[in-house]
C-alpha cells in the first residue's frame, strides 16, 4: 500500500471532531475509570457489594464499565431503565422503587426471564400483583421491603409494618424476600445534624433487620446509601449493598466531601454572542440540569453566570473568547443533564474517541 493510501485513511478522531456540535455532553473516560477504580479500592475488604445507580446517566456503555469485582449489578429507578440495562447485557438489576401499574409489572416480570430482577415494595396490593404476574410467567422476582429511613417518600415507617409485609411476601409464589432497602438521599456536608440523620437512618435499618430476623425472615440484602453518605455506609455494619451512582461522574456540590472522585463530565457549548464584559453560550436549562447549582466553568473564570432556557450568560473580564469558541462547564446536576441528551461524547486525553447513546434517556416509565 502506498503512503498516499495510508494517509488517506480516515482518522476516526477527526471524523468525530467534524461530526461534533453543541451543546453536547462530553465524558472524560480517564477520569471516569479512575473514579470506578477508586470506588473499588474503597470497597476492598469491606465485604460490601456495590450496585451502581444508573439513573445517574441512563447510559448502558457507562454502566457496563462500572461493573466487576464488588460491583455485582446495577440499581435503576424505573422499569424503562431496567429494560435498557438488560438489553445491554447486564444480568442483575434492582429497581429500587415501587412498581405498581399493571403494565409495568408485566414488563418487569418479562425482564426476570432474562436477568436477575429485584424490586422494592411498601404495600400489599403491588405485592399481590407482582406475585401473580411472576407466577404466570414462571419466574422468581427478588423483593426488598422499602423502609423510609429519612426521606419521607416511599417506604414503611416501622419494623412492625415491615414484618407485616414480609409475611405477605413470604407466602407469595414467584417472589423471594431478599431483605430491605432504605435510601437516605443526599445528605450534604453542611446539613444540620448530618451525623445524627445518617446514624438514625442506619439505626432504623438495623432495627428492622433485627426484627425481621427475629421473626425468622431471611435478610441477606440491606441496600442503601448514595455518594454523599458513602463513607458512613462503608463503616456501617448493617448495610450490605451500596446504591451510589454519582461517584462515577461526580457533581461539584459533592467535591467537598473529600471522596477520591473527580468530576468526569462536561457540557460543551459555543460562544454565540459577545458584548463588553460578557459572553453568551448556547448552553441552557434545556441542555443542562441546574438543581444543584449552575454549571461550573472549566479553564476560564466567570464573574457571574445566568442561565435561561437556551442560553448561558457569563460575565467575565477581558479578553473575551472569540465568537464560535467552545467552552466546557461541569453540570451542577449530572442526572437531569444526561436525561436531556441523546448521546454522550467520549474523550481521552482531550481527544474525542467515541459517542455513546444515552439509550435510557426519557425512560421514566
Amino acid at each position: 500500500m502506498s503512503s498516499a493510501a495510508l494517509t488517506s485513511q480516515p482518522d476516526p478522531a477527526s471524523a468525530l471532531e467534524s461530526a461534533f456540535s453543541t451543546p453536547a455532553l462530553v465524558v472524560d473516560l480517564d477520569t471516569f475509570e479512575a473514579n470506578v477504580a477508586a470506588m473499588a479500592e474503597l470497597l476492598r475488604g469491606t465485604g460490601k457489594a456495590l450496585r451502581p445507580h444508573v439513573k445517574t446517566h441512563r447510559t448502558p456503555e457507562l454502566a457496563r464499565r462500572q461493573l466487576g469485582g464488588a460491583a455485582i449489578g446495577v440499581t435503576c429507578a424505573t422499569v424503562g431503565e431496567a429494560e435498557a440495562m438488560v438489553e445491554a447485557g447486564i444480568d442483575d438489576v434492582l429497581v429500587a422503587n415501587e412498581v405498581v401499574e399493571p403494565g409495568k409489572i408485566q414488563r418487569l416480570v418479562a425482564l426476570a426471564r432474562r436477568a436477575q430482577i429485584g424490586v422494592a415494595v411498601d404495600d400489599r396490593e403491588p405485592i399481590a400483583a407482582l406475585s401473580q404476574a411472576a407466577s404466570r410467567v414462571g419466574v422468581t422476582v427478588d423483593v426488598l421491603i422499602d423502609v423510609d429511613v429519612l426521606l419521607h417518600r416511599c417506604g414503611v415507617g416501622s419494623a412492625d409494618e415491615a414484618i407485616a409485609l414480609a409475611v405477605v411476601v413470604a407466602r407469595s409464589p414467584g417472589l423471594r424476600l431478599r431483605g430491605i432497602m432504605g435510601y437516605e438521599g443526599r445528605v450534604r456536608l453542611g446539613d444540620e445534624d448530618r451525623a445524627g440523620k445518617i446514624a438514625r437512618a442506619y439505626a432504623l435499618m438495623a432495627e428492622v433487620v433485627a426484627a425481621l430476623r427475629g421473626a425468622d425472615f431471611p435478610v441477606e440484602v440491606v441496600s442503601g446509601a448514595g455518594t454523599s453518605t458513602l463513607r458512613e455506609a462503608l463503616a456501617d455494619p448493617t448495610i450490605t449493598e451500596i446504591q451510589a451512582g454519582v461517584y462515577a461522574l461526580m457533581e461539584p456540590e459533592l467535591l467537598n466531601l473529600g471522596l477520591p472522585f473527580r468530576c468526569a463530565v462536561a457540557i460543551r457549548g459555543t460562544v454565540i454572542s459577545r458584548h463588553p464584559g460578557r459572553i453568551v453560550l448556547d448552553i441552557g436549562r434545556r441542555s443542562v440540569g441546574i438543581e444543584y447549582g449552575p454549571p461550573v466553568p472549566i479553564g476560564f473564570a466567570a464573574d457571574e453566570i445566568a442561565i435561561s432556557d437556551e442560553h448561558t450568560r457569563i460575565a467575565m473580564a477581558d479578553p473575551l473568547p472569540a465568537l464560535g469558541s467552545r467552552l466546557d462547564m461541569v453540570p451542577g446536576q449530572v442526572r437531569t443533564t444526561f436525561n436531556l441528551h441523546d448521546e454522550v461524547w467520549v474523550s481521552r486525553g482531550g481527544r474525542l474517541i467515541d459517542r455513546w447513546p444515552i439509550s435510557a434517556r426519557g425512560s421514566s416509565q
Partner: protein
C-alpha cells in the same frame, strides 16, 4: 402550508407505534409518567390568540421552542400564525419539513455546521436568522453563497434581558449596512424579546416596561429607515406582553409561544389561556400522611408543579417522585392517576419524546416531540444527503 414530509410523518408513525397500547384508551389507562395534551384546551388557546390578534396591526409568529411539536405548530399556522419562531436551526429544519415555509431562528446561529444547515434549509424554505455581531454576518453570508441560497437576517436588539443583542442605533446601523451588502443575505429588520417584562407580575407595570422596550426597538428601526435601511420586519413579544406589543406602532409581528401550551408561570401573566399540557402520574406509594407519585423533576422539570383537581400541599419533588401531603381524608390510593400542572412547561417537554393527545378524556393520537435535541446534527446530514 405544504403537507408534512417523511421526517415528520415517520416520527409520528414511530411514536404512534411505540405507544399504541394507549391509543383509544381513557386517560386513566395511560402508562405514567406521560405528557398529556388536551386538544380542546389547545384549540381554545389558539382561538383566543387569533381573536386577540384580529384587529392588531401586527401579525403572529408562533414560537415553537416551548412545545417542539410539528403538529401544534401546524395548528398555530391554521389559527393565523404567518410562520414560526425557533430557538435552534434544528427546530427550523423540523418545522420547515412539517410544511411551514416561514421559519425564523430567533437566535444567533454560530458554528460552521449550524450556518451550513441554515443555508441548506434556505433552499427549500423562507429562512430567517438573527445576528448581533459582524462575524456572524460573514459566516452566514459565506454559508448562503456556498449553498446558493438566500437567508433573511434580522438584527437582535437587547431590550433589557442583557443576553444577546445590540442596544443602540450606533451598533445596529453598521450591522444593517454590512448585512445589506453581504451576498446571500437580505436585511429584513429587527427582533427583540422583552423577556425581562415576564418576570413582572403587576400587569400595569409589565405593560409599561414593554412599551419602554418597544420605544427602544422601534426607535432603532426609525433610525435605520432614516439612514436608508427600512425594516420590513420588527418582531418582539412573548406571552406576557403580546397584548401591548402587538398594538405598539411600528411593531410588525409578535413571537409568543407559551400561550399554546401554558404553565403556572405564564398563567400568572395571562390567565385567559388554559393549561393544555400536563404530566400524568400514578400514585405509587400511599402513606398515612402523604402520597408519592412517579413524576418528579426528571419529568415535570426543575420548576416542579401542583396537582390538578386536588388541593394538596407539595412536600417535595425528587427526580423520580413528587410527594404531596394527604391525610386519610384524601381518597387517593396506590395506582390512582393524577395530573400535575407544570410551573414551567418547556422543561417537562424536554424530558418526553411524545405527547398523548386527549380529546373527551380519551387518547386520540400520539404526537412526537421533535427535535428532541438539544443537539440534532443528524438533521444536517439529512439535508446534505438531499433527502
Amino acid at each position: 402550508m405544504n403537507d408534512p414530509a417523511p421526517l415528520v410523518t415517520d416520527a409520528h408513525e414511530r411514536v404512534r407505534d411505540l405507544y399504541r397500547s394507549a391509543l383509544g384508551r381513557p386517560r386513566d389507562e395511560v402508562t405514567t409518567p406521560a405528557l398529556l395534551l388536551d386538544l380542546a384546551t389547545l384549540r381554545a388557546n389558539l382561538e383566543l390568540m387569533a381573536d386577540g390578534m384580529r384587529d392588531a396591526p401586527a401579525t403572529l409568529r408562533a414560537h415553537v421552542k416551548v412545545h417542539k411539536s410539528p403538529h401544534i405548530a401546524r395548528m398555530q399556522v391554521e389559527h393565523g400564525a404567518i410562520g414560526v419562531g425557533c430557538a435552534t436551526v434544528w427546530e427550523a429544519i423540523v418545522m420547515a419539513r412539517a410544511g411551514i415555509s416561514d421559519v425564523f431562528v430567533i437566535n444567533e446561529v454560530v458554528g460552521p455546521e449550524k450556518t451550513r444547515a441554515l443555508a441548506l434549509l434556505a433552499r427549500e424554505a423562507d429562512v430567517k436568522a438573527s445576528v448581533d455581531d459582524a462575524a456572524q454576518v460573514d459566516e452566514l453570508s459565506a454559508a448562503a453563497v456556498a449553498a446558493g441560497s438566500t437567508i433573511g437576517v434580522l438584527i437582535d436588539v437587547d431590550e433589557g434581558m442583557h443576553r444577546c443583542g445590540v442596544t443602540t442605533t450606533a451598533e445596529a446601523l453598521p450591522l444593517a449596512q454590512k448585512i445589506s451588502q453581504s451576498p446571500g443575505l437580505t436585511f429584513l429588520g429587527l427582533t427583540g424579546y422583552e423577556g425581562h417584562c415576564s418576570l413582572e407580575f403587576d400587569e400595569a407595570k409589565r405593560h409599561a416596561m414593554a412599551r419602554e422596550a418597544m420605544a427602544q426597538l422601534t426607535g432603532i428601526a426609525a433610525d435605520l429607515a432614516a439612514a436608508g435601511l427600512p425594516c420590513q420586519i420588527v418582531s418582539a413579544a412573548g406571552t406576557g406582553t403580546w397584548g401591548t406589543t402587538s398594538r405598539y406602532p411600528g411593531v410588525t409581528e409578535i413571537q409568543p409561544g407559551s400561550y399554546a401550551t401554558m404553565d403556572g408561570h405564564h398563567r400568572g401573566l395571562d390567565p385567559r389561556f388554559g393549561w393544555a399540557v400536563t404530566v400524568l402520574a400514578s400514585v405509587i406509594s400511599r402513606r398515612s400522611d402523604r402520597i408519592v407519585t412517579d413524576a418528579g423533576s426528571k419529568t415535570v422539570g426543575a420548576s416542579h408543579g401542583v396537582l390538578k383537581g386536588w388541593d394538596l400541599e407539595k412536600y417535595r419533588f425528587d427526580e423520580e417522585h413528587s410527594i404531596f401531603l394527604a391525610d386519610a381524608s384524601v381518597p387517593l390510593t396506590t395506582g390512582d392517576k393524577v395530573e400535575i400542572l407544570c410551573n414551567y412547561t418547556p422543561f417537562a417537554i424536554s424530558y418526553f419524546e411524545a405527547y398523548h393527545v386527549l380529546e373527551d378524556g380519551k387518547v386520540v393520537d400520539i404526537w412526537p416531540v421533535m427535535p428532541r435535541g438539544p443537539e440534532s446534527r443528524w438533521l444536517l446530514d439529512m439535508l446534505e444527503r438531499g433527502t
